[in-house]
Every structure is written in structure tokens, then in C-alpha cells.
């Protein structure tokens, strides 16, 4: 009854983390020693694919040298009436997951970086042909991604053929990336909603568009598209984007309707490209937080990996807590690192012109997508430690936020603990509330003897 009775080794999720050491390996396919290796999925027409056909070009597993390292390619062609080129990438990434389910197969990386080891133990158990790998892949693909109606798989170990197809694959990857990067929210009618996090944050919903990744950084628009196709009733679903209500802020009627329904009305309006007004909600597992620094009227960005305190003196843990839980909080905005590579990044607030501080490690990750001036203008922990230092830094760099300061009015005086509040004691009331710069002192039963004095902090006015 098992799906894999004819496979000589076990197949299951539990083998996913399996590591195969050099001493225990029968053969290594691809990996750092091979300049050319690849895995590629292509969408084809129904009549171009012979279902479940597995082909091996070059020597099969059993004929490869024990302990050796060989060039390697996996080429998968899929067909089905709902298949589209856009789904090739997400389909391809499943190779990693599925091959790792096989006992004695270790698969690392993707695309032109693949590195596979086959264990001696599994080889000895009879896992000696790529045909088995092909069978497992074909069955899992068809069972998990119902839009795949036909699939054929080719394994290549012949060096010349690997090289030839590697070159073709490289072009396809490049074209795919260019398309994905260039894809605009304006060009699609469908966005995707994700409520996976509602299992822990019942009022949060992510909206995933080509130019705004899910907050966790794990789900792209393409991933969303594939998931919604596989399980339209599931936690990742299509949103008809509806009417564009505000291009600058990124408000769409379809998003508003969907989020209202999915959050039972606790959120009914979303502006996709800003941290103010009706910002995209933040769950708890966002990769980074854009936090507004009122003193300089710009955003700091801090990611989960940053261990120190940010320029405003607060660490990620405190800042993150200010925005989490599926709420819309002005100026505390959970984001994915990938969103920082998007031209829509905080567009309504001024985009990169508004970013003033970020950890060096984040800067290094997104540098190539930042405008040239911003690279110099945005301070890191290596440049400044305090808001005062930041102010000076921004002035020196003539950061675009400095322009804004000229129009701004001076902030209210800082809070002090005022003794003058003791005036209030004289009031013969059972409970008196006294406001003193930033603090509120409540005397309970204060005629002569106060049983309790509660000191509360005044809510800062925005």
C-alpha cells in the first residue's frame, strides 16, 4: 500500500536532515569540485512529455566510480493544463525537498550549485540506479502538485552533455531572475494572501505581491501562486487586487475587502508601501523592522540577527515588540529583507530617501539594490551610536531627510519628574490624578494617609 514499495530504501520526511559524510558516501554528484552541474524544471506542452519516463544520459549510479565525484544534471519536464512558466522556479525547488526524503540521499543547494551524495549503505541496499530517484520524484510531484499531469525526468552524468545543458540552464535562470525582479505589482491582477501565521497570530494576514515579499521572507509571489493553485482553500490564497485606490501608498480595494474578511474586521484597510496610516500588519516572525526615528524623521531598519542596540538605544527585541501581533502601528513596520530590494520599498514615505540607519550586515545584503547615494547616506552601527551622532552624520552627508527638518517645528520639552505634582495632595478627594511632565501620580485615600501611590507613564502624544 505504500507509495514506495518498489524502492529499495525507505522514503520519508524523517530523512530530510540526514548528513552523509565522505567516508560513508558511495558517490558524490556535482558539488564544489564540479564547475558544471544543474537542476532545471521546464513547463512543456502535454504532447511533449511522456509521463513518468526516466532517462539516464551517461553512466548510471551503479557504474559510477565508488567514492568518486562526477558532473551531474537533473532535467525535469512537466505538463498540465494549468501549468505556466511562472511556476517553474517553485516546482524546481521541490527537487531539494523530495530527493532528501530518500534514505541515503543528501541533496544540498539548488540550480547551478547542487551537491548530492549517495550513501554506501543505501547503495548496498539496492539504490543503484537513478531510475529509483526518478520514480520517487515523479510520484511525489504528481501527488503534491496536482497541476502536474505529466512528468518526465532525465538524469545526466555524461560530462559533455552536462556542460551543454548547464550553459542552457544558466541562460534560463538568468532570464527567470530578470523577469521576477522586473515584475511589477501593476502587471498582475492577482496578489496572494497568507494566513499561515494565524495559527499563532489570529489577526494577522500577509499580502504578497510581486514587489512585496511575505514578512517572514519565505514566500514570494510565485510561491504564493503555486500554493494557491495546489490548495485554493488553504492558508495561502489568491486575492483579486481589485481597484487601485492609491498608487503612491499602494491601496487596493481587493486587499481591503480580503483583509477585512480574514481578520474579522480588525483590519479593514491596508497601504502596502508605507509604515504610516494603514501599514501592512506585522505578525511576529518578520525578518526585520523599519522603525521611525522622530528626531531625524527617518527610518531605522533592524533585523533579527542584530545583537546590539540600535541607534535609538533600543534593541530589536524591544522594537519588534512594539509592532508585532497583527496590528497596524505607525512607525513600527515588520518587513522581509527581500522587500528592501523592491522599488516599492516604503515608496510612500520616500523609499530609500527616508532610511537613515541600518546594521552593516543588512546593508551588505541589500547593497546592490540600493540607490548609490543611499549607500553612502545610510549610517550603520559602525558610523554612529546615538541619535545625536546620527543627526550630525545625516547633516554631513546632506541626507534627503535633512531637507524635511527645515519645515519641522520643535518638539515639546522632554519629560521631567516634577515635585510640583505634590500640590495635588491638598485635594481632599478619595482618588486624585495628578499629571506631572510625563508622569501621572495617583493618590489613593490621600486625605492624610495614602495607602498606595501609583506612578504611571503618560502615553506619548503623536
Amino acid at each position: 500500500m505504500s507509495m514506495f514499495e518498489d524502492i529499495p530504501v525507505d522514503v520519508g520526511v524523517i530523512y530530510e536532515g540526514e548528513r552523509i559524510r565522505r567516508n560513508n558516501m558511495q558517490v558524490e554528484l556535482g558539488g564544489p569540485k564540479q564547475p558544471a552541474k544543474f537542476e532545471l524544471v521546464r513547463a512543456k506542452k502535454m504532447d511533449e512529455v511522456e509521463d513518468e519516463k526516466v532517462t539516464v544520459i551517461g553512466p548510471d549510479l551503479k557504474d559510477l566510480p565508488e567514492g568518486g565525484n562526477v558532473p551531474f544534471g537533473i532535467y525535469i519536464e512537466v505538463a498540465g493544463k494549468d501549468i505556466e512558466e511562472d511556476l517553474e522556479g517553485v516546482t524546481e525547488r521541490r527537487i531539494h525537498e523530495y530527493l532528501n526524503f530518500i534514505e541515503g540521499i543528501m541533496h544540498l543547494n539548488q540550480r547551478y550549485d547542487i551537491w548530492i551524495r549517495v550513501s554506501k549503505k543505501s547503495f548496498q541496499k539496492g539504490l543503484n540506479s537513478f531510475t529509483y530517484l526518478g520514480k520517487v520524484l515523479a510520484r511525489l510531484y504528481k501527488s503534491e502538485l496536482p497541476f502536474i499531469e505529466k512528468i518526465q525526468i532525465t538524469f545526466i552524468t555524461d560530462p559533455a552533455k552536462v556542460k551543454e545543458m548547464y550553459d542552457q540552464a544558466a541562460e534560463i535562470y538568468e532570464a527567470r531572475d530578470a523577469k521576477a525582479r522586473g515584475m511589477k505589482d501593476e502587471e498582475v491582477d492577482t496578489f496572494y494572501g497568507c494566513t499561515l501565521c494565524q495559527s499563532f497570530a489570529p489577526t494577522h494576514m500577509c499580502v504578497i505581491t510581486p514587489q512585496r515579499y511575505s514578512n517572514c521572507g519565505s514566500i514570494s509571489w510565485f510561491d504564493g501562486r503555486a500554493s494557491a493553485q495546489v490548495d485554493p482553500k488553504g492558508p495561502v490564497f489568491a486575492i483579486n487586487k481589485g481597484d487601485l485606490l492609491d498608487a503612491e501608498k499602494g491601496e487596493f480595494s481587493g486587499i481591503n475587502e480580503t483583509i477585512k474578511q480574514k481578520t474579522l474586521g480588525s483590519v479593514d484597510r491596508v497601504w502596502m508601501y508605507t509604515g504610516f496610516g494603514y501599514p501592512h500588519t506585522s505578525c511576529g516572525c518578520f525578518e526585520a523592522m523599519a522603525f521611525y526615528i522622530p528626531e531625524v524623521e527617518g527610518y531605522g531598519i533592524v533585523d533579527r540577527g542584530f545583537n546590539g542596540v540600535t541607534v535609538n538605544g533600543l534593541p530589536f527585541s524591544t522594537l519588534a515588540d512594539s509592532g508585532a501581533g497583527g496590528r497596524q502601528v505607525d512607525g513600527f513596520h515588520g518587513i522581509a529583507i527581500e522587500y528592501m530590494r523592491s522599488p516599492k520599498f516604503l515608496q510612500a514615505d520616500g523609499g530609500w530617501d527616508r532610511v537613515v540607519w541600518m546594521p552593516q550586515s543588512v546593508k551588505d545584503r541589500v547593497k546592490e539594490f540600493m540607490p548609490k547615494e543611499a549607500i553612502a547616506n545610510v549610517a550603520t552601527e559602525n558610523d554612529v551610536k546615538t541619535v545625536d551622532e546620527l543627526t550630525t552624520f545625516l547633516k554631513e552627508k546632506s541626507h534627503p531627510v535633512v531637507q524635511r527638518w527645515k519645515e519641522a517645528t520643535v518638539e515639546a520639552a522632554p519629560a521631567t519628574e516634577g515635585e510640583e505634582a505634590l500640590d495635588g495632595i491638598a485635594f481632599p478627594v478619595s482618588t486624585a490624578t495628578v499629571a506631572a511632565g510625563g508622569f501621572k501620580i495617583i493618590f489613593i485615600n490621600a486625605k492624610i494617609h495614602a495607602e498606595k501611590v501609583i506612578i504611571k507613564r503618560d502615553k506619548p502624544k503623536r
Binding site: S2, M3, I14, S199, A201, D231, R304, I455, K459
Partner: protein, 781 residues
Amino acid sequence: MAKKGLVVKVKELKTNIAVVKGLEVSIGKIVDDTWEEPEGPTPFPSMTDLRDWDFKLLQRYKPFYLPFCDVCCLCTFGKCDLSGDKRGACGLNMAAQSSRIVLLACCIGAATHTAHARHLIHHLIEKHGRNFPLDQGGLNIDIEAPVTRLVCGIRPKTLKDLEDAVEWAEEQVTHCLSATHTGQEGSNLDFESKAFHVGMADQVGMEIADLAQISVYNFPKADPEAPLVELGFGAADVKKPTILVIGHNVPSSVGIIDYLTKKKLLGKVEVVGICCTAIDLTRYSTAAKIVGPISWQLKYIRSGLADLIVVDEQCIRADALEEAQKVKTPVIASSPKNCLGLENSTDKPANELISKLVEGKVPGVLIFDPEKVGEVAVESVMAVAPKRNKFSIIPEIDEIIAAGKACSGCNECIRACPNNQPIPEAMKAAAEGNLKPFAEIFDNCVGCARCDSACPKDFPLHSFMIKAGEDKSLSEKFMMRSGRGAIQDIEIRNVGGPIVLGEIPGIVALVGCANYPDGNEAVAEIAEEFAKRRYIVVLSGCAAMSAAMVKDEEGKTIYEKYPGGFEAGGVLNVGSCVANPHIAGAAIKVASIFAKRNIRANYEEIADYIHNRVGAVGLAWGAMSQKAASIAAGFWRLGVPVIVGPHGSKYRRMLLGRKDKKEDWYVYDARTGDKVYTGPTPEHLFTTAETKEEAIVMIAKLCMRPNDTTKGRSMKLTHYIDLHKRYYGVMPDDVHLYVRNKMDIPITMKPEVLKILEEKNWKETRIPDPTLLKRMIRKRG
């Protein structure tokens, strides 16, 4: 913040509106309420404030009583036979009596931890002042003391802030204990509810104790890379003078390390520990070494390797002093709770005490001042060690052979053995000169030495085992990660994604004592089974030590093989017994961090959240003590299921769900207010497992929760089914109860599971936003 009185006298006060003469203002209490989180409904809850919540749990997980004893002999009415449907002279029946004993055990446990906390803060305030700041993990922790915040509704910042919480816990223990008096509570469910309550108070007591010691002694602060420390008989260089510390309350051991440091003797004297004091001492100084869990006391003492023993409190053998005398090892008792009949010498000059111990004029001394303990212990051990010359009472092989020959085979030893170890056979083999069976028993022995007492010929059977196991044990050395303390907020954020995406199937906590049915290995095996499967494995106390006592073919222990972070496949030692609330705290923080639920004094809502959403399971494989009972009770009230090993049935009652009763497994869908069937998730709140295999399968099963995403559920089911097949050889019979829709089916098991669903006439259900509390329904209008 804490209480503080204030009196202001003003002769004359002129203000804009009045002139006041002879004004006198006194303020009873100043409360710092600058904490913006609103206070929930149950700050410093009384014994009955959360009773409704308890009854909700007890309705689903009905107490199942396993009377350990048919009679009650707690008052002079009795003893009363309560078997069958009989009632005692006071009117109590067996169900109520059994739950009363559960409550009594939980009160003892909670009192122990709370008293421990009280002693620590008292001592630390005396030494470091009331304003010493608390710090659990620096910048990476925003939610410090999550349990105290949740239960008491306060946010402690300094040592003095802890006093309010500990005072509250003490009050709860007193109230709950009083309910066990003859003629008080009559309902078994109310006894159960009080057991939950005192278990919750226990969590506060423990959290306070650990928070205080982490802050003041600068233990690792929520550190995934807490140092690896040495553990085992062979960890210490026992050629050096060796001090053995036993117990749970670390100040006297800290006194020893401090004195060694001051006198530049660190490295010249070995300090080894047994039980939680050992863990906590390695958190203070990596120069300290661990012998092993509680069960190693007699093994080590009789081996004669310790030249001086310092005992503090909890889980110390009552005969430690007598056993020490047999090997001429002096003892220092350092806790008011464990005076061993010794004269209080706290105020005597150190020199006098040292010379008494060195000359053997007294078997031991009682000193309550930790610093003096340090001085006396160190100075004494240096003089005692050469005199003792590692004197041991472990018999020679020919003595064992002679005993084997003289053994009458009466079997009293095996009858006395809690784990039925084949001692009579080992004696027979010994008669032939074969000590191997004794060596095997040594590995499995919990060190109770009941066999010694039972032997009519007075053979020291436990010592025979020690001799037989000596070759292996003396050279044994393992690496354990020292107690890291709390889980960082950031770590919790990091696992949010992997948990909803199914990459982390659950959180397994291996905690508790070392009353194992068959040795340490089971704990290590269970821990590794789940770490390999990318669960998060959290350990504490004796279980954390036992898990270190197995090496792989490369000589590595699980702490060397798996990361120490709260992440997929992480293996974390949070610390000693009192570190257990860090595990509860992690679950509480999930609610705060992901759902932004207020945790302040908001127990019921957060317990409901945890029960329905956080796939955590506790296993106390060797649970023995009353403390283990109260620790478990603290988790029950939070809705976290606990499994105990075979001896755990002697706690007298389980909290078992009935998966066959469909009506028991409905929750409200907070989105709609509908009642939705969720399947038995989690099936039990407290249950026992007879074998490690049973425990492993049960853990995987109890990680399922009603909120699981389909990806999460499919992964949890994968492991449950895979483990069930591996250990029972068949598909579990209840798979259909855990599939809500077809996306839940494990991806590599589709055809077989679909077949079962068809056979069982399965119907799709929906995934709710689950709650047991009607008030949490969000639907408007």
C-alpha cells in the same frame, strides 16, 4: 515595584490654592505602574481565581486514580479503609483522598522551591542590596520573568521586586496545604484545582530563584553557547583534594569557588557536584565538574573519591553523613532545612571548625554562612585529603566472590529493588568469579541501596555493583552544556516561521529526576531521536545530566552534536530544577510575541492560548520527587501535557483524555463562535509510559494542537506514524482522528492514509481559531 513606606512631615506648606500647616502625609505603598501593558483579570490570584479554567481542563482530562495505598492514616480517626466505595471516618472517599495526596505532594514541592527562592533572595539581598538589578538575558530579552508577569502581574526589575512575588507564592502554599487538613475540602476536583494552583505558584517560586541567581552570580544569560562542562566519575582529577557538593541551593558552593579563587587554589582542589547544585555551580564557574544526577550519591561517596562533602538542600540522601563517616569523609551541612543532627557552628571561628574536621573529632559541622562554608571546606579538604588517602569501602573482588558463594538465594534483594534488577543472578555469577552481571546492574541502578538493607546477610550489594562497574565508570567523562537560562525573545521570533511551515514539529522538554527504570541511556536516546527529527529539545535538572551520559562512535555527546539554541534540532539545557520556568516562559512568550496577547496577570487567556496552540510536551522519565509533582502541576494548568516514566504511576492519578468520546474534543472557533471538532489534541494532560518506545511515540502524538497549519500537522503526523510503525510495527489506529483535511496527510504516506480514512468513514473538518473560552470569540454583532 515593591512596597516601600514613605512619611513626609511638613510644618507649613504654601501653594497657589491653600496654606497647610502641620501637614503629615504617609504613604503605605508606592506602586510603579509605568508598565504600559494593561493589567489582566487575575493579579496575584487567590486559590479559586482560576478554578473555572481548571474545571474546563478537568472536564476534558478527567482524573484517573491509581490508589497506591487503600487506607488513609493521616489522622487518629483512622486508619480508614477507602477501598471500593467506602468512605473514611471524615467522610472522604478514595477519589478525594488520592487527589488530596496529589495536592499534598504538590504543596511539598512548591514549598521546597519557594523556600529555596526565599532563602536565595534573602541571602542575595543581604549581600548585594535590595536594588541589585535583575538581568535574564540583556538586550535579547524584552520579556523577563514571563511567569511572574503572567501570574502575579508584576514586572520585577530588582531583587526587592521579587519579594512581593515570593510572598504571594508562600501564601498560596499555606492556603493550599491547609486545604488538606481533615475536614476541609471534600471534592476531588477541588483538590485537583488546588494542586494546579500550587503548581502555578511553584513556577513563580522557581522563576524567582533562577532569576535571582542568574542576575547576581552572572550565570549564562539566555546563552545558546553556554560553555560545555565536564561530567562523569572521570571528569575530576581525584588525585587532588576533592570536595563533593550535593543538593540544590548553590550559595555555599559558590562560597567554595570564591574562596578557592581568592586563595589562588583553583585547579589545586577539585570541586565536583551531584544533582542541581552541580549544574548551577558550573553555571557559576566552569572549573567545577559534575559527577552526575541524584542517583550517583552512594556510588561516589562509597568510592571514597570525595575528601569532603558539602550538602545544602533537597534530594540529598538522608544517610549521607553515616555513609561519609564510613569512608572517613567529613561533612559540612549548610542548610537550615538539612541539619543532619549536627551542632550549629555558624558563629564559631573557622580555625576551630577546620581543626575539628581535620582531626576527625566530629563527623561534620553545620554552618549557615556560605562564605564560612567556603573557607572551612577548602582549608579542611587540603589537610584531610592526604590523611584519608582516598579511603574507600568498596570491597575487593575476592570478598564479592566469597559473598556470592555464601548467598542463600533468598531473593530479598530483588524484591527490594525498585527496578527489579537481577541481583540474585549476579551473586550466583559472582560466586563463579564473573562480575559482569553486577557491572550491568551498576549501569541501570538508581542508587537507592534498598538491596543492602534487605539482605539478611548484610552484604553491601550496592558496593559490589560499584566495584564491578568501577573499571568503566572511573574513566568515564562526558561533555554537557551548562545551563543557559531563559530562551531569548529573538530565538522565539526566529522559530515562528519554521513552526507554522512545519519545519519544527514540536518542543520536547525532558525534565525531572533520575528514578529511571533502566539507566541514563533512555533519556539520551529520546532526546536524540527528537533532535534528529528537528524538534526543539529542552532539558533541565537530572535529565539534562543523564542526556549527556551517552557518546556516539566519535565520542561525542548530544550537547556536542546539536546546537544549543532554541531552533530546529536544538538541544538546550536550561539549567537546574528551578530553571524549569524558562520552558513555561518560552510558551508564554509565544503568545506575547506572535499574538501580542497581554500576559500581565492574564493567566487564563494565555493558558488557553498555549493549550490550543503551542505544541510542547514534557517528559519526566525518572520523576521521583514531590518537586517533580508540583513542576508537572504547573504545566498542567498551562495546558501543557506531561508524560512520566513507569514509576510515575505512583503519583496516584493521571489526567487522561478519551479519544473515543467525540463530544470531549470541541473548541470554539474564535472567528465565528461555532463549536468545532478538533480531534484529541492533545490527547492527555498527564499520562505514564512504561517503556521508552511508548514514551517516544506518545511525545510525537501529544505535540499536535488544534491550530496546526496543514503543513505543521502533516509533519507532526509523519513523525507520529513513522515512530509508531518503527516501535509498534503497525500503523496507529487513530490516524483518522488527526486528519482535518486532505492537506494534513503526510506527503509520503498518502495512499495508506487515504485508505484508512475511507475505512473509518472520515469526514473533513475545518481548522478553527481554537479556544475553550467563550469570551475569546471575536465575532461581532
